[in-house]
Amino acid sequence: MSLSPRQHWIGVLARARLSELQPHEAALKDVEYHLIRAPEVGMTLVRGRMGGDGAPFNVGEMSVTRCVVRLADGRTGYSYLAGRDKVHAELAALADAHLQGSQPSIWLSDLITALANAQASRRAQKEADTAATKVEFFTLVRGEN
């Protein structure tokens, strides 16, 4: 299953850190816009499958923040992200709206690529840290014989 470009950038914006978005705050807010749905915190039920393909079960609830903005020219930006950060939700929705413009390339190169690279390196770092602690178990002799 391949992601559309918009799915990709919405995911990148949701996983970004607020400190990475804040340098762009002035540029993002440099347009006339209003809130269709002001940032709001809610709960959502997370479901999972044992081993990835078992019967579905409820893992638990997590907090989610969502926001919808409309720019003066009619573009509508959405954001959904994990956690309770309303400032982040508004900035992410604004970025989504800007990226839907006729020239998304500037925003893509400035913002999304940089954020995606930062996320990839964080992930690689974490995977490397985790891999160092990996332990292989194997059985030499079984107890009963």
């Binding site: 209003h34 809130l35 269709i36 749905r37 002001a38 709001e40 919808v68 409309r70 009619g74 509508t76």
Partner: protein
């Protein structure tokens, strides 16, 4: 869904929805008494009170039946976005119904609940132009100490239609809305002509 049609709704979603719910409760607890809803948003085709009731009462579990006069892309898009409610074309499936003055003559098809669960009936929201310009009728019943004079501008045939479908405890609860005001008409209220 057309994102261009979306408009902001409640300024303070939590408290405004609670005020709307409170007004609806009071309206049904004291039938015929006008309730005021100050904090209600505007949407083309819906009065502020009607829209506030929709925002307070509707959610994913409440299929809504729209009268043709309210079935516009704007109303559909905004109710679907802000309430998340499904729309139904079958009156039988509706938990809420949104009607105008001209739809009052035929209340057939709506779920009246059953004898074991009369609370599962459809709740009817009716939008009028105002609530006080009609002929005076006397309301009696629970929530009214003796009797109350109410001047709802609804056609006479509506009262006949309501009486015809009466089968207490089954029945329809109706909320009339106009501008920023609403009046409740629960199934338990008895409505009679004013004696001159």
């Amino acid at each position: 869904m057309n994102a261009q049609l979306l408009q902001p709704a409640f300024v303070d979603p939590v408290l405004d929805a609670q005020r709307g719910f409170r007004a609806a409760l009071k309206a049904l607890a004291e039938p015929g008494l006008i309730q005021h809803l100050a904090c209600a948003p505007q949407l083309d085709g819906l009065a502020p009170a009607t829209y506030a009731l929709c925002l307070a009462l509707l959610d994913v579990d409440t299929p809504l039946w729209l009268a043709p006069s309210f079935d516009t892309p704007l109303i559909r898009a905004n109710l679907a976005f802000h309430c998340g409610c499904p729309f139904t074309a079958n009156r039988e499936d509706a938990v809420f119904a949104l009607l105008g003055e001209h739809d009052l003559l035929d209340l057939g098809g709506f779920d009246h609940g059953n004898d074991r669960y009369p609370d599962q009936s459809c709740t009817v929201l009716v939008q009028l132009t105002d609530l006080e310009s009609g002929r005076g009728l006397l309301w009696r019943g629970p929530g009214i100490k003796a009797q109350r004079q109410v001047h709802l501008p609804v056609p006479q045939a509506f009262w006949l239609e309501r009486q015809r479908r009466e089968a207490f405890p089954r029945g329809l609860d109706v909320l009339f809305a106009a501008g920023h005001h609403l009046i409740g008409l629960p199934r338990s209220s008895r409505v009679a002509e004013e004696r001159t």
